[in-house]
């Protein structure tokens, strides 16, 4: 009898523990490479047609209906590694030492990252594909490859290439696609199966297929996305010509593949019965690659990304206008896992917004976001120098400071002197040929080729040429940021006010760009030829001034 009671007691205790454990949600983080804010759920309806009227993302759209859809989510830096350094650390990228650049990045293990903190708090963590990179060691803030689950295959990362290969070998199109989704599914299953102790899990799904390159014509061929349906719908920085429309349709094809793989994982999650206890977050690391004003630009087309959140404790079916920096996800995840948020994190938890019930602007303090950029491709400019920029963005305005307006924003015009002709094949495939901060592709190739024609000369200079130190755009009147008002005397007070707010935030968060004329970012190892990988070094600890 006594033993039975003890046994019952133990059973009750165990049940209580399990209940407590089930109080901490799983985290399913679906993060696409180079995916801007392109999903059907972002379509704005009649009169405001855009790319989102063409893109097809049924799975993501379905999740948007039961979650929170953020319209004003921005990356901190529109370049893979610094974006991810900020996202993983919960700190502005300029506080992550050598994680602040792309080529030559080195992760400093002293920086707390939320996945490793969740792991420390008992989470079963795992990832498939890209988490943090390019940089050394790859995926370091996620524990390197020790939590990688990708044995079933990585072919999703070259989606159109692999599907084209399979269909060329005679496989039916849908079967070929299914074969790639099956790899995604198996990797996730392997991850779940490895969770022997029933711990809450955290899974990062980071396929890279939306990143260039992709197969020309694959948008139409694999997804039946008609390039002509983009006519009149692309932002003005993209020439509305057949070559560019096809390129964009191909990009949207990869987005459709991304959506399908998201659907695969959400179905799989449903099968485990864990859906109601899983926080699902979907986003991307910056705007469209190799499309003017996208990736590597602080314009909205470069930093604005999709963000959807659904799960336990989230009041769903809302569209929210609060400004979000992806650094905000770190404290959000940590709080979900009952882990204290380190003081050094500059991101702010989204839980107050997620739990609220109203739509539109929820938190009246969330009206601005700060973005920036240092170096992307290391040899983009003579002297391996960065293109330093910082910006403050509100619902009405964006102010961009280009600290070195003498430099070329997308990299030097290598090989283009005196009307020189670069081979089409190289322009489409070799990013570093010219303007190396703009990814190679048909769009870049077309614009470079047309750069001296009377019709496109100005356009080319607008998107790839040097920019003034200050850029100010009125987002209500000019949502695509085409008219720089920075030198308009009527805007002087506005500009001064925004600049003050921007510089105050940079100073508060210890941005080395403001110290010694940006020496930290202008000297090796952050500038100059890439050094061999060596132990990480941070600038003198940029403490938070709160």
């Amino acid at each position: 009898m006594k033993t039975a009671l003890i046994a019952l007691g133990l059973l009750l205790l165990q049940t209580a523990l399990m209940a407590a454990e089930s109080g901490r949600p799983n985290i399913l983080f679906l993060f696409a490479d180079d995916w801007g804010r392109f999903a059907g759920c972002y379509a704005e309806g009649k009169g405001r047609e855009g790319i989102n009227d063409v893109v097809r993302t049924p799975n993501i759209d379905r999740l948007a209906k039961r979650g929170v859809l953020f319209r004003n989510a921005h990356v901190n830096a529109p370049s893979c590694t610094p974006c991810r350094s900020a996202l993983l650390s919960g700190q502005y990228f300029w506080r992550t030492g050598r994680g602040a650049i792309l080529q030559g990045a080195v992760w400093d293990p002293a920086i707390p990252s939320w996945p490793l903190m969740l792991r420390g708090a008992g989470y079963h963590i795992g990832k498939s594909y890209k988490v943090w990179g390019p940089g050394t060691p790859a995926d370091a803030p996620y524990g390197g490859q020790q939590h990688a689950f990708q044995k079933a295959g990585t072919r999703i990362n070259q989606f159109s290439q692999n599907v084209a290969k399979m269909t060329a070998a005679g496989q039916p199109l849908e079967a070929a696609k299914e074969e790639l989704y099956a790899e995604v599914r198996s990797n996730f299953r392997d991850f779940l199966a490895a969770n022997e102790e029933g711990r809450p899990f955290c899974y990062w799904f980071g396929p890279t297929n939306v990143h260039r390159k992709w197969i020309k014509g694959s948008g139409k061929k694999l997804w039946d996305i008609d390039p002509d349906s983009l006519k009149g719908k692309m932002p003005p920085s993209l020439p509305d010509v057949a070559e560019v429309r096809e390129d964009m349709a191909d990009y949207l094809g990869e987005v459709a593949a991304w959506d399908a793989s998201v659907g695969t994982l959400l179905d799989e999650l449903d099968k485990t019965g864990q859906r109601d206890n899983t926080l699902i977050v979907i986003s991307g690391d910056h705007g469209a690659p190799g499309f003017p004003h996208g990736k590597c630009n602080l314009y909205g087309f470069g930093t604005n990304v999709a963000l959807l959140i659904a799960g336990p404790g989230v009041t769903g079916a809302r569209i929210v206008d609060d400004f979000v920096n992806l650094t905000d996800l770190a404290p959000t995840f940590l709080q979900a896992g009952d882990v204290p948020v380190p003081e050094v994190m500059t991101g702010r938890s989204l839980w107050p917004v997620l739990k609220a019930s109203q739509a539109g602007l929820v938190d009246p303090a969330r009206t601005e976001v700060f973005t920036g950029r240092e170096r992307h491709v290391e040899n983009a400019r003579a002297g391996y120098s960065p293109y330093p920029q910082r910006a403050i963005r509100t619902a009405d305005h964006v102010l961009i400071i280009n600290f070195r307006p003498d430099r070329w924003p997308l990299g030097d015009a290598y090989g283009l002197a005196d009307g020189a002709v670069l081979p089409q094949e190289g322009l489409e495939n070799e990013t570093r040929l010219t303007h190396p901060d703009e990814d190679a592709g048909p769009t870049k190739a077309w614009l470079v080729k047309m750069r001296n024609t009377p019709e496109w000369k100005k356009h080319y200079e607008w998107v790839y040429g040097r920019r003034p130190k200050y850029e100010l755009y009125d987002l209500k009147a000019d949502p695509h940021e085409t008219q720089n008002l920075a030198e308009d005397p009527a805007q002087a007070a506005l500009k001064a006010g925004l600049e003050k707010r921007l510089l105050a935030e940079l100073a508060r968060t210890g941005d080395p760009r403001l110290v010694d004329d940006g020496k930290f970012f202008e000297t090796p190892p952050l500038a100059g030829p890439l050094p061999a990988a060596q132990p990480a070094r941070k600038p003198d600890n940029p403490g938070l001034k709160r």
Partner: protein, 531 residues
């Protein structure tokens, strides 16, 4: 008239080779392979293989038909490549370490504004100097999953060495400072012994029947001494390792090595026991299949580089040169390996294409590896120092025929005692004749190359009293020419005595390089920059 002709070189130097269209100094890529015979290139009329990509260089540029080395082994040849000097002046007569503090072409190009890179086989013992980035094999290096040395460290890269070396070269190009001209030495290990091709090319040659050379069965008649005593014959000196024979599974450690190092004189292949002539024929096929498969890998790599230059637009201002560190015997004279100054060992491929170089041009002047360093400097618009003994090939590349060009070549091989028991020798080759002196035996050989290009009939064989007056006269003429060349090139026998050879070797140890684990191509090129 005389005054005018003496002015011509000056004018040429002022004009430079660099094309008149663009003032920008040209980029230079020098692709170097190890042991690639001239007659294993289809542009040179190979009877044993096709090299479509190296042929592209010949078609779009110049192919030198009389291109020689001055000391036909790896390490000395590489020292000559850098210094433009004969072994007796650059201090590398044998497999000894090159003194990196010496003046050489990469240092001068670097100082002249070039971004300089060295990728692949180096085999000079010391750390490369004069390079902005370098990543080299330790000593000979390995074909599979090779170790590479970089400033201060060593690292491993998974894969086949030939492909890796090409990829490292391409990564170097992609990550260079784009506002500077570049000089890249892309040095393949292949097709060096023990001829271990990648799987793709291995399969391509697995069942090929390679034609035998006419002199595979050479009995060395009229050439006693060095040739009969040599240990680099197809018949007697290919080991089980060379022939890719599989040791018994239970053999481990030193006994396994011993087994592999033995020369089989009887073999059972597909149930048939081979000995004598049949076995030699089989050995020749086995050796050549792997050798040519390795060459194919090198040619594939040349193709990749040329494709990249085309697609990147770099081709129009980039000079691509191809050569090899020494000659090679494809069973000729019954041999494999190099060393001997008979034609297959003395000749090397030399091809170049790029701005200012005449397409389809076939210069026939006597050129040698001492000319390469001066050529690079001249192409870059930099002065050639007096200390370099070679002469810029730029005028020849332009299609000019300078009246005062050399019409013979001086050769000297020291490594005796050394590998393969090849006797030390020196000699001269003219457009019609060759005189070889095995100086330690004081044995002479002379060939009339116009009548006897395969060097089968030594005109000095037998009692001198029986020699024709023409032969005696030619002998005396060539001996005098040898003395003249030795004076001209300042060879006073500095390294004739093995006791005078510098001691430190070219094969390590490289203990100062700490292991840093397996790296990708990208990571490896990152590590190639000095810290």
């Amino acid at each position: 008239m005389k005054r005018l002709s003496s002015l011509l070189p000056v004018l040429a130097a002022i004009m430079g080779l660099a094309n008149p269209v663009s003032a920008a100094p040209p980029n230079i890529i020098f692709i170097f392979s190890d042991d690639h015979a001239q007659h294993a290139i289809s542009a040179y009329g190979s009877k044993v293989n096709q090299t479509p990509h190296i042929d592209r260089i010949a078609r779009e540029g110049a192919r030198f038909t009389r291109s020689y080395v001055t000391n036909s082994i790896c390490t000395p040849s590489r020292a000559t490549l850098l210094t433009g000097q004969y072994s007796h002046l650059n201090g590398v007569p044998v497999f000894n370490r090159f003194d990196g503090s010496r003046d050489h072409v990469a240092k001068r190009l670097q100082a002249g504004g070039y971004h300089t890179g060295m990728v692949g086989k180096w085999h000079l013992g010391s750390d490369p100097t004069g390079f902005d980035r370098w990543i080299v094999l330790p000593g000979q290096g390995a074909y599979h999953d090779p170790v590479f040395l970089v400033p201060g460290a060593r690292l491993n890269i998974k894969g086949h060495c030939t492909e890796i070396t090409t990829e490292l070269g391409l990564e170097f190009l992609k990550t260079r400072p784009m506002d500077k001209p570049f000089f890249l030495m892309l040095h393949q290990k292949a097709p060096h012994r023990a001829w271990e091709p990648d799987e793709k090319n291995k399969a391509l040659f697995k069942d090929k029947i390679i034609p035998e050379p006419d002199t595979l069965w050479d009995n060395y008649a009229t050439r006693p001494g060095a040739l009969p005593a040599n240990q680099q014959t197809v018949a007697r000196d290919l080991t089980r390792r060379d022939l890719k024979l599989e040791p018994p599974a239970d053999l481990k450690g030193p006994p396994r090595m011993q087994w592999l190092n033995q020369v089989p004189m009887e073999l059972t292949i597909d149930g048939k026991t081979l000995t004598g002539t049949e076995l030699i024929k089989w050995k020749y096929q086995r050796y050549m299949q792997d050798y040519l498969a390795c060459v194919q890998g090198v040619d594939d790599g040349v193709g990749k580089v040329l494709d990249y230059l085309e697609s990147s637009g770099l081709a129009k201002n980039t000079i691509v040169m191809y050569s090899a560190d020494n000659g090679w015997y494809l069973g000729d004279l019954g041999l494999y390996d190099k060393r001997f100054m008979y034609e297959p060992g003395l000749n090397v491929p030399l091809l170049a294409k790029g701005p200012g170089i005449k397409a389809g041009h076939v210069p026939s002047q006597f050129v040698a590896n001492i000319d390469l360093a001066p050529t690079f400097l001249d192409l870059a618009g930099l002065p050639v120092p007096e200390s370099m003994q070679g002469r810029s090939l730029a005028p020849l590349l332009r299609g000019e025929t300078p009246g005062d060009w050399r019409n013979s070549i001086y050769y000297r091989y020291y490594h005796d005692p050394g590998h393969h028991n090849t006797a030390a020798h020196l000699g001269v080759r003219t457009s019609t004749h060759k005189l070889i002196h095995y100086w330690k035996q004081d044995a002479w050989q002379m060939f009339d190359l116009t009548r006897d290009p395969a060097e089968q009939k030594n005109l000095l064989f037998g009692d001198p009293a029986t020699h024709s007056p023409e032969v005696t006269a030619k002998f005396n003429e060539l001996k005098a020419q040898l003395v003249k060349l030795q004076q001209e090139y300042k060879d006073d026998g500095q390294f004739a005595d093995p006791a005078s050879w510098p001691r430190d070797g070219a094969d390590g140890p490289f203990d100062d390089k700490k292991p840093t684990g397996t790296k990708t191509i990208v990571e490896a090129i990152l590590a190639a920059a000095p810290r």
